[in-house]
């Protein structure tokens, strides 16, 4: 049923001309996707998809639309070729999937070779009941280092392309920016933001036992500040969290993560070897995962802020400067 909704929303996106509609629809789409993922037992993924697809992406898209205008021109050329390409690709995949094991069948090769061992030994080896976190941060911790680097790359990319709002620009954001003239909002914000940050920390540390982890925490952390910015305006927000600090956070997280790996080297293990981080290997694992997740959280939060500041700090330009 969810899947049908998923299809419907996707098709709606194709049809919609007004980009605001598109953005909203894509937000809905992500939510449905997230729900579907929970149905499929992928709670962590669902959580991330929700916070990223429905949260961050939507904010970014809206921010962009604010700068670029929101009407899509009617396509000039006949979309025959694109249709063919799309169909062909899907066809190729259908051809492929006709041969794959039946959905949900535990005897499929995917459930045999590597995965079972994670489920069996992860807890003993790492002391982390959430196998996803264990695999993410330890078994395939190197992938996650890469992932964090990707975020980092995107961060500096956006900073390079848009710069992080220089003070000169703020005139554009209404008077002093934000909507702090609404008392109610201000009060609510004051009340909520601490909770947001608290929740972030919870997610951060609960990641070992339930869904959650550095990435989600970082996103929520950033969300808190973003919320603050929306209420009190960019100027105040950047007085609270100056761009340079954001930049440092962006770099710091990756640096921490990579450093954990180096320490592994120094203590005579391989790169990213957590066993050697403590006399007791399980503690070692725990420690490693903790710091690694911290690194992820910091970089993610930093990058999210950087991106948000970058977009918010941009003045709207109706005409080409060319």
């Amino acid at each position: 049923m969810l899947l049908v909704l998923l299809l419907a929303s996707a098709l709606a996106i194709v049809r919609a001309r007004n980009l605001f509609a598109v953005v909203v629809l894509s937000g809905i789409y992500s939510f449905i996707m997230a729900t579907q993922l929970t149905v499929l037992d992928a709670v962590d993924v669902a959580m991330t998809e929700a916070s990223v697809g429905a949260g961050i992406s939507t904010v970014l898209l809206l921010g962009t639309l604010y700068l670029t205008g929101s009407e899509e021109a009617a396509p000039g050329h006949r979309p025959v070729l694109p249709l063919l390409v799309a169909i062909a690709t899907a066809g190729m995949l259908i051809y492929g999937t006709l041969g794959i094991p039946v959905f949900g069948d535990p005897s499929g090769p995917i459930h045999q070779h590597v995965a079972p061992r994670y489920l069996q030994e992860a807890v003993e080896a790492t002391g982390i009941p959430n196998v996803v976190t264990a695999v993410l941060a330890s078994y395939r911790g190197y992938d996650t280092l890469g992932e964090t680097t990707v975020i980092f790359t995107a961060g500096i990319g956006v900073i390079l392309l848009l710069g992080m709002g220089r003070r000169a620009r703020y005139g554009a954001q209404g008077q002093g920016g934000g909507m702090q003239e609404y008392l109610v909002l201000r009060v609510i914000a004051k009340l909520l933001i601490p909770f947001a940050l608290l929740f972030a920390l919870y997610v951060q540390f609960h990641g070992d036992f339930g869904p959650g982890g550095g990435f989600q925490a970082g996103v929520i952390l950033a969300a808190g500040v973003i919320f603050y910015t929306i209420i009190f305006g960019l100027a105040n927000a950047q007085r609270l969290v100056p761009p340079r600090l954001v930049e440092i956070l962006v770099a710091l997280g990756v640096a921490i993560y990579a450093l954990v790996g180096d320490i592994g080297l120094l203590l005579g293990g391989n790169y990213l070897d957590y066993f050697v981080l403590d006399r007791d290997p399980v503690h070692g694992q725990h420690r490693g995962v903790f710091w690694v997740e911290a690194g992820v959280c910091i970089t993610v939060a930093g990058v999210m802020l950087a991106i948000f500041f970058a977009f918010a700090g941009r003045r709207r330009r109706p005409d080409a400067k060319s």
Binding site: A10, G53, T89, F103, D143
Partner: protein
């Protein structure tokens, strides 16, 4: 195998096709990126569906639970999602700059402008 059994996969392909179609057919740079996102999410569905075991639960070890779904796809897709949003952010930043440089985010207008010079 029955059609229903593989329904998740069918949907994944449909989404894949839709996303790809938007990317190629649409001239609006923002919409292209949205299409790209759909294209990518279809892959998430593909992976996660493959990892599901009927009657299994989320791979968080606890008493009284025997069957867990495969955690590895979840890990991979977490990475994929992050990569996806990173790409999106970068893409949007480019779009903003393009808007500033060309005054439009419609592919055709941009091309026509480049022809002129």
């Amino acid at each position: 195998m029955t059609f229903i059994a593989q329904f998740n996969y069918w949907v994944a392909m449909a989404l894949l096709a839709i996303g790809l179609y938007i990317v190629i057919a649409r001239g609006n740079l923002v919409k292209k990126l949205v299409g790209l996102a759909i294209f990518q999410t279809s892959v998430y569905l593909l992976y996660i569906s493959a990892g599901k075991i009927i009657g299994g639960t989320a791979p968080i070890i606890a008493q009284g639970l025997a069957v867990y779904s495969n955690p590895l796809p979840h890990v991979l897709i977490l990475t994929a999602i992050v990569v996806g949003v990173a790409t999106l952010a970068l893409g949007l930043a480019l779009v903003v700059r393009i808007k500033e440089a060309y005054g439009t985010i419609e592919e055709d207008d941009i091309h026509s402008q480049d022809e002129e010079r």
